[in-house]
Amino acid sequence: MSVFIRHYNPGSVYNAKIWRFASTTAETPKLTNGEDDEEFRVLDILKKRDKLQRRAPRKADVPPDRAEKMRTDQKWGDVWPGPKSFHPSSVPLPIRQGYVPKGQAPPGKKANAELMKIPNFLHLTPPVIKSQCEAIKKFCTEWPKLLNSEEAIEKHYPLEIITSDYCHASPVIRNPLSRIVILRIKLSDLKLDKHARDKFLRLVGDRYDGQTDLVTITADRCPVRRQNLDYVNYLLTACYHESWNYEDWEGDKTLQDMEYYDFDMNQSKRNLVNWHLLCLNEENNFSDEEIKLYDVASIPNATEYIESVSSLFNDGESDATLKKYDTSVRKLLGLPDKKIVT
């Protein structure tokens, strides 16, 4: 039970006429005590002794603010070295914050909880940042001259590994999301021939994006990033080598599996052959295989027709491909060319 020294300075009833002034009372001028009003002294008959020994609040001798004594050309980095909540006495700025109805002044910086709440960047003022950057500069390595353009980077480093790190507020710096590893590579950088490319695409499936020609493989199965990294590399090498070897069952590839339009395999070859034979009004009793092998060069300007049909299927139907198909059919059938509006 600590001993309390009670100060009690007599007199001066604190006549705090509460000034209904919105800014916190710490700000408003202290009212001087009522001066000797020579009129209307209130007659107090039942003079009660001031029973309660009103203990005047301790007038702790509060040292004046540090802010007043600061020089205006001081180095601010030393005054406010690190992140710290706002403290009015050490910030020399007359800041005010608070929503007040119109016509009143917002609460000042003293005893202003709002200013303490909001994050402040007093420790990161531009000069401080510049000096810190200067300091760090000697530890950074310089960006290699050769990698000056996007293409150069892609040429030298086709493979891209994307990992992400997280900073958050917790006693532990671990984060489950940081284990995910993404590998990204341009298909054109992988040296694949036609068959291998087709097989690789079938293996990779929807990880390949047609427009950007990028294969993105993500791995998040293993708990640790290193394991995921190995897994991703393993996946890429496996697919690559798998797509190179030719299995025997790949031979009997049916029409539906064809990923591109091959004229010989399709019905339009049969139409062409039948049409040709009809023209020569020969009897056509060819079987399927024979039709496939039937050499088309003999039919006049059939090659242009074949190429236009395959472009119609492969490059997608559009006015241009249709026009090409039109001219080729007209040549094939021996019709006059299309009239152009004069």
Binding site: N271, N274, E317, D326
Partner: protein, 371 residues
């Protein structure tokens, strides 16, 4: 009074821009008539298009304009030249008309029909395929076909088509040299002997609606044989051909199962006739977005509308785009409307309508309606 001198003004204005041509037979028409209107005389029109062939809105126009006038457009002339040029003993050449909605495909087909009629072709014409497959008026009758089980018959439509066929080819049928090659037995009592004229076959089909579909099947086989034997030149015209290839039709079997177009008994014969294994004829087909429901209407290009199967069925075909009005065509159409009192107002009205309708023929006609 005011309206009268405007009408005079517009007539004088329209006279300045010639929009009519006196050359009314398609066979003689050539480039310098492109964009001009020619009037078909009424009885040919009635004969060809009595049972459908012209869009309903056009029919109303003809009633208001008191004449059926078709504009001569380049694609039609192009096809007419091609038909004239091809020697007929080569396998049949197939033309596919494609274009936007309201670009004038059906009218170009009508123009070609008129040409075929003039040129003495035997016309096999389906006015609108999706009327058969996708329109379900209350009295539509669907039954299972006797001859080939598993198929669905639409006898009423078949009979109507036979009537239409008879109406279009009454001249050729009357000359009588078209004979059936084989003897066909419909039922115990009815049969048509070999060598009977086609007209009789058609009459039988119309009379006995139950066998109408089989009659059509037989008729088309006969026509193929006859045209192979150079007896007659046949002209096949099908509007909205791509609805044959839409996976589902609205018809349903008596057991309420949705029917695919292949299972409808009428598709097979028309598929047969659109092959190019016969000679001495021409096939003109239109693919139309309106023939198929919304989900298959992204663009109007033929390969997309015909699916893979349709495209390969027609493969060496000549695609013919029916575009919008060119500058000249638009002006002549506008002055024609002014002449027919369909359009009135100051001259800059044309430039506004040109922009608003984006020169689409149907759109232009729609925009002029309330003016």
């Amino acid at each position: 009074m005011l309206s009268r001198n405007i009408r005079l003004l517009s007539r004088r204005y329209s006279q300045a821009v010639t929009f009519r041509t006196t050359e009314s037979s398609p066979t003689q028409q050539n480039e310098n008539q492109v964009g001009l209107f020619y009037t078909m005389n009424n009885d040919v029109c009635k004969q060809l298009f009595a049972h459908g062939g012209l869009p309903k809105s056009f029919m109303k126009q003809t009633k208001t304009f008191t004449e059926t006038a078709l504009m001569v457009r380049l694609p039609a002339l192009d096809i007419i030249d091609c038909i004239k040029v091809t020697d007929l003993n080569k396998p049949v050449v197939r033309y596919v008309l494609y274009g936007e909605k309201g670009a004038g495909k059906s009218l170009t087909l009508a123009h070609l029909l008129h040409f075929a009629h003039e040129d003495g072709f035997l016309i096999v014409h389906i006015p609108w395929v999706s009327d058969w497959l996708r329109r379900l008026p209350r009295d539509k009758e669907m039954s299972n076909s006797q001859s080939r089980e598993g198929f669905v018959d639409i006898p009423l439509d078949a009979a109507a088509w036979l009537l239409h066929f008879k109406m279009q080819n009454q001249v050729l049928l009357k000359t009588g040299d078209l004979k059936t090659s084989k003897e066909y037995v419909w039922s115990k009592r009815e049969s048509t002997p070999a060598g009977a004229p086609l007209a009789e076959l058609v009459e039988h089909g119309i009379a006995r609606v139950k066998y109408a579909c089989d009659v059509i099947d037989v008729l088309l086989k006969e026509i193929k044989l006859l045209s192979n034997a150079k007896k007659c030149k046949t002209f096949v015209a099908i509007d909205g051909f791509n609805s044959f290839f839409y996976p589902l039709t609205r018809l349903s079997t008596p057991t309420k199962k949705k029917v695919a177009p292949e299972e409808v008994s009428l598709t097979a014969p028309f598929m047969e006739i659109t092959k190019n294994d016969w000679t001495n004829g021409a096939i003109v087909v239109t693919t139309d977005q309106l023939a198929v429901p919304e989900d298959r209407q992204e663009n109007y290009l033929p390969k997309y509308l015909l699916y893979q199967k349709g495209f390969e069925h027609l493969d060496p075909f000549v695609p013919m785009e029916i575009g919008r009005y060119t500058e000249r065509e638009f002006l002549s159409c506008a002055s024609y409307y002014r002449d027919r009192l369909w359009l009135r107002g100051p001259p800059e009205l044309e430039s506004e309508l040109k922009l608003a309708s984006a020169c689409n023929p149907y759109n232009f006609m729609e925009l002029c309606a309330p003016l």
